[in-house]
Every structure is written in structure tokens, then in C-alpha cells.
Subunit: 338 residues, 2 copies
């Protein structure tokens, strides 16, 4: 890596379904200079997250789309290397929407300082960052699990799901995970202490029967990261007054039009149950509380995390596509700098 | 009608899809005698309600199914004509689950006394009864409409929907109805004061565009009685933090298996919105409050109601099938006695 060049990944084409590596392109530009009230960040870790898939479409569902030819959006953690900003000094570690590149200039919008003494700085993109806050507030504030209840989480071995299950265990719940490989099932049960898990890919189907065995008292909270047929199955098992926390629908993000599935909303009527969607940003003014609690659980050993790391900004597209297809366990990161 | 005979309607066959008149059978039996702590009721009005369709299936979704050969379930209002019960006296008007028959014996379970000075006794099955409480608590407690918000209600001219829209108007909301005929559209707009309404049958489809015109500020509360394609359209128009009140899914009740439709739950994620089902019985301990408020609004002229009445217990199946296919405006009743 040359110190005078900023390697970047731009969006070269809008994906048709699942993104391909050719939808991205590597370019080089000069390292930008911060203007007044700006600072320059050298990226250390880049995060690839499911929500970025939506931003690649022309009709991005809730945020501005990435323009064609523009640097891919994405959160990253890095070190301030030069600053004309009164609140950010050289040497500080920060996390923010810096994009898929080695260097970024920022005016501080959406940027948060990271305390490197709390945990490795990469955790600012995972357990102590957006995925951690998604799990913490989504489960506790939307799902409202009570001691002794059964919590099912889909995408159980992912960055958010793996934390949801562990937080639910801390709350005294029975926790059942749904994941896409035997390795993931073993990980959440043997390493994270889930009470059970199923691999939805093998054998395919029969989710309802297999889930019913693991949830003999039904499902009180369903934390949904994936949607689709997996969620259809869980919906058949919900208890009266169940809460379905709609966090993501990753199984649907590469669909070109709305997939069709069984209409099961009447389940919510007869079970007097609720399905509620959320975006983690609605809890932004409480992130300090959430990060403090997650850091406490980390120190106490009540919460564990795993990272899947690819090296080099050039591997960001591969990391992203792998995450969308479930190749990762825990948080998928790209290591950009040292 | 002979005073010594109790004409009854029994369930003769479990319906295959939409019930047919031949699924029911008229029988005659002796007028029953009340035992100790029981009383005899002479039925005046019988109510036919959408939820009864579920009770006709062997796998009734949330209540005991009607047994084959058993008297059809259903709420009715009538007069106590003979009593061995300390709390119910001859001459009193009562409403309860008396079934499709001219006379019923009861021990008082699920029975409520009706004050005939408040309003015509038929209203104990409508605006001052279960449909009224469904509209009142479903809209106010689940939907939580705020002044100036837009409320959309499906099944807008029915027993529940017509009240939902008027209660929403009282709350200062913009109210848009969805109904199945031009007559119903005129009724809710011209007689009930809805701000707008569409006939979803003519022209078919194009719901989204037509609803968008009537809801220029989007949809904050959707009170759903019908489900299916009508709800698919409304879901596309919901605002951030919208509430979808799932009251019924009448478009689905005659399906033999779950119909398939577009998966739109991601709408709830990006709109941070909630869909919540309820059963009116969860508010049973607050019915006195609801009935008092609805009666007040009735007296003040803020709430109007209409009844569609067929005469004679022998017409109960016809009334029920008509209600399931949207033939009625307002509350569908069967007049059984004078």
C-alpha cells in the first residue's frame, strides 16, 4: 500500500439479484486533504452489512442510494491522522460512515469516538457497534422477552443473531437458533450456549416439525433477520401475545420483485400477537447505554463474539457477497489497514 | 311459530370453502326447561358474525368448533321468560352466546344484561355490543390514532368498519374507507362522513394509485378487517411508525389452505411500523367503559349505525352467507321473535 494513494471500491453497476464482483470496481485516487472543520481518517476495519444491499438499488428503500460510480457506502473504524476539526484530534480512533476506501475525509457527521481500552477496535463495528445495538434494543425494547419465555432467532450465527441469542439467555429465556450450516448450529449451541438450533438447509423444509421439538412451549419472541420460508414456519408456532421483531429480511434482498408466500397474518389475530419492524437509528440517543451494557456483559463473559475477517480493501466485494450468502460466522469484516 | 316448539339451525356439514345453505339444517325440538340456577331466553335478534366461519371447521382456529349436528353457535339478544337463577329475572333483556335457535337455556356464562332504555335492544349485538367494542378498543387501544393522522379501514361499511371510521373522525383523523360496492362507498362518505372511500371491486386492482390519491399524506393507521390484496395495497402506503390493526381477514376465511401473496413484511422494517392482532375478548373487563362511551356518542349524534335484518330463524344461513360475501351494510341481524 502506497502512502500517497487512496484505494477505493466504487459501485460500477446496479446488481441484478445477488451482487457479483463485477458490480464493483477498484479505483485509485489521491489521498484527500481535510478542509477547515474536517479531518482525515485512515481506515483500519471496514464493515459489510446486509442493509447495504438496499443502497445499491436505484430505488433504495429508506436511505439515499449509492450513485453509480460513487464510492460504496459502509461503516468503518479508523484512526484520525490529520485534523482541522476542533472535536477530533490526530491519533483518536473513530467509527463512522467512511465508505469502502483506505482514507476518508469527514466533518464528523455520524462519527463516534471509540475507546480502544474497552475492547479491540473492530468491536466498534460489531458487538459494541451497530450490530450490537441492533440486537440489544431490538430484542429488549421491541421483543420485551420475559424470564422463562422461548426466543427464536433467525440468522442465528450472524453478527446480530449471535448477540440476540446470548442477550436472551442473559434474560433467562430458552433460546433456539435457525442458521444455514451444521457448523453454525454447533457454534451457537456449543460456544454461545443456545438451548438448540436447526440448520434450515439440511434437511430442507420440515421446519415446523423440527422447530416444534425444540420449542415445546411454543414461541414467545421471534427475532427475524431473514424472512421468507423460515419465518413462515416460526409464525405457525407463536404463542398468544407473541412478539415478532422484524429486524431484517435478508432472504428477500436480492429479489427483483416481492416474492410470494403464504398469507399468515391471521395467525397474529388469533394469537393476539404483534409484528414490529425497527431501524437501529431510532435508538440512537440511547447508544451510550447500550454500549455500556454490552461492554459489561463482554467483560463478565456473558457475551462472546466472533469475527470473520478478509484482508485488503480489494476483498470488500467478496466479503460483502459472502455475507449475503451466509459464508460468515459472526461479524464479517474487511481489514484495510494495520 | 308455535309456542311449544323450538326451531333450531344445526350444522349439517362442514363447509368446503364458502358455506352453502345445505351445510345447515332446520330442526325442531321441545322448548327446554331451565334447571336450578338456569334461565330460559326467548330470542329476539340473532347476530351473524365473520368469526363464526372459523368455528364451522374441524380445526377451528381459536375457539371450540361447532360439532356436526350441533346447534350453530352465535350471539343473540332475548328476553328471560322463565328463571331459576338468582341473578336473572323474567322480563329482563339479555345478550349472550345463545346459538341459532328460538329458545335457549343458560346458566349465565357469557351473558350480559341489556338496558333497553339506552337504545333499541338490537344494538346489544352491534354498536353497543361485540362489534362496537371491537371497533372501539381495536382502533383506540391498538391503533392509537392521533389528531390529524390518516386512518384507512377495510370492510368499511360493515358492522365494525363503519364504527371504526366514525370513531376515527371523532378523534380528528382523516378517514378513508375500502368497501365492495358503490352503494357502500356512498354510505360511508355521504351518511357517515368518511373523507373518502374506494370500491375495491370496480375497477378491480389499481388500489395503490386510487388509495394514494385519497391519502396524500400516507397512512398512519390501517384497521384491517379483510386482508388479501386490499391489505397488500395499503401496506405500500404506510407512513413511518404506522400501526396496522389486524381485526379480521375475511377474504381468507373460506380458503382451504393459506393463499399466497406478496411478502411485504420488509415494509414494516423500513417504516418502523407495527402490525398487531387482537381479539375483542382481551378487553372484556373494560366493556362497560366502551359501551358507555359508544352510547354517549350515539346520543350526541356523533356515531350512526345501520342494520340489515332478515326475518325468521330459517333465514339465518342466508344472512350468514350474505354477510360473508358482503351483501350487508352495517350490522347483519336475523329477527327471530318480536
Amino acid at each position: 500500500m502506497s502512502a500517497s494513494v487512496n484505494r477505493q471500491i466504487i459501485l460500477a453497476a446496479r446488481p441484478d439479484g445477488l451482487p457479483k464482483e463485477s458490480d464493483f470496481q477498484r479505483v485509485e485516487s489521491a489521498i484527500p486533504q481535510p478542509a477547515d472543520r474536517q479531518f482525515l481518517v485512515r481506515i483500519i476495519f471496514l464493515s459489510v452489512d446486509p442493509y447495504l444491499r438496499g443502497l445499491m438499488n436505484e430505488d433504495a428503500p429508506y436511505l439515499q442510494p449509492v450513485p453509480l460510480g460513487g464510492v460504496m457506502f459502509g461503516d468503518a473504524v479508523g484512526e484520525v491522522v490529520q485534523s482541522n476539526h476542533p472535536q477530533f484530534g490526530a491519533g483518536e480512533i473513530v467509527v463512522g460512515p467512511f465508505g469502502w476506501q483506505e482514507y476518508a475525509v469527514s466533518d464528523g457527521a455520524g462519527v463516534r469516538k471509540v475507546d480502544p481500552s474497552l475492547a479491540p477496535v473492530s468491536t466498534a463495528l460489531g458487538v459494541l457497534g451497530m450490530p450490537g445495538m441492533t440486537a440489544y434494543f431490538g430484542l429488549l425494547d421491541i421483543g420485551k422477552p420475559k424470564r422463562g419465555e422461548t426466543v427464536v432467532v433467525s440468522g442465528a450465527a450472524g453478527a446480530v443473531g449471535s448477540l440476540v441469542g446470548q442477550i436472551a439467555r442473559v434474560q433467562g429465556c430458552r433460546v433456539v437458533g435457525i442458521a444455514g450450516s451444521e457448523e453454525k448450529v454447533r457454534y451457537v449451541v456449543e460456544e454461545l450456549g443456545f438451548d438448540g438450533a436447526i440448520n434450515y438447509k439440511n434437511p430442507p423444509g420440515h421446519y415446523v416439525e423440527r422447530l416444534r421439538e425444540l420449542c415445546p412451549a411454543g414461541v414467545d419472541v421471534y427475532f427475524d433477520n431473514v424472512g421468507g420460508t423460515v419465518s413462515d414456519a416460526v409464525a405457525m408456532l407463536i404463542n398468544p401475545r407473541a412478539r415478532i421483531v422484524l429486524c431484517g429480511q435478508i432472504s428477500q434482498y436480492n429479489q427483483k420483485r416481492l416474492e410470494r408466500g403464504p398469507r399468515w397474518l391471521f395467525q397474529l389475530v388469533i394469537k393476539q400477537a404483534r409484528a414490529e419492524g425497527f431501524l437501529v437509528w431510532q435508538f440512537a440517543d440511547r447508544f451510550a447505554e447500550g454500549i455500556a451494557q454490552m461492554a459489561r456483559w463482554l467483560r463478565e463473559g456473558k457475551i462472546k463474539y466472533r469475527e470473520t475477517v478478509l484482508d485488503g480493501i480489494e476483498n470488500a466485494p467478496k466479503a460483502f457477497i459472502g455475507m449475503l450468502t451466509g459464508q460468515n460466522i459472526g461479524k464479517q469484516l474487511v481489514k484495510v489497514g494495520a
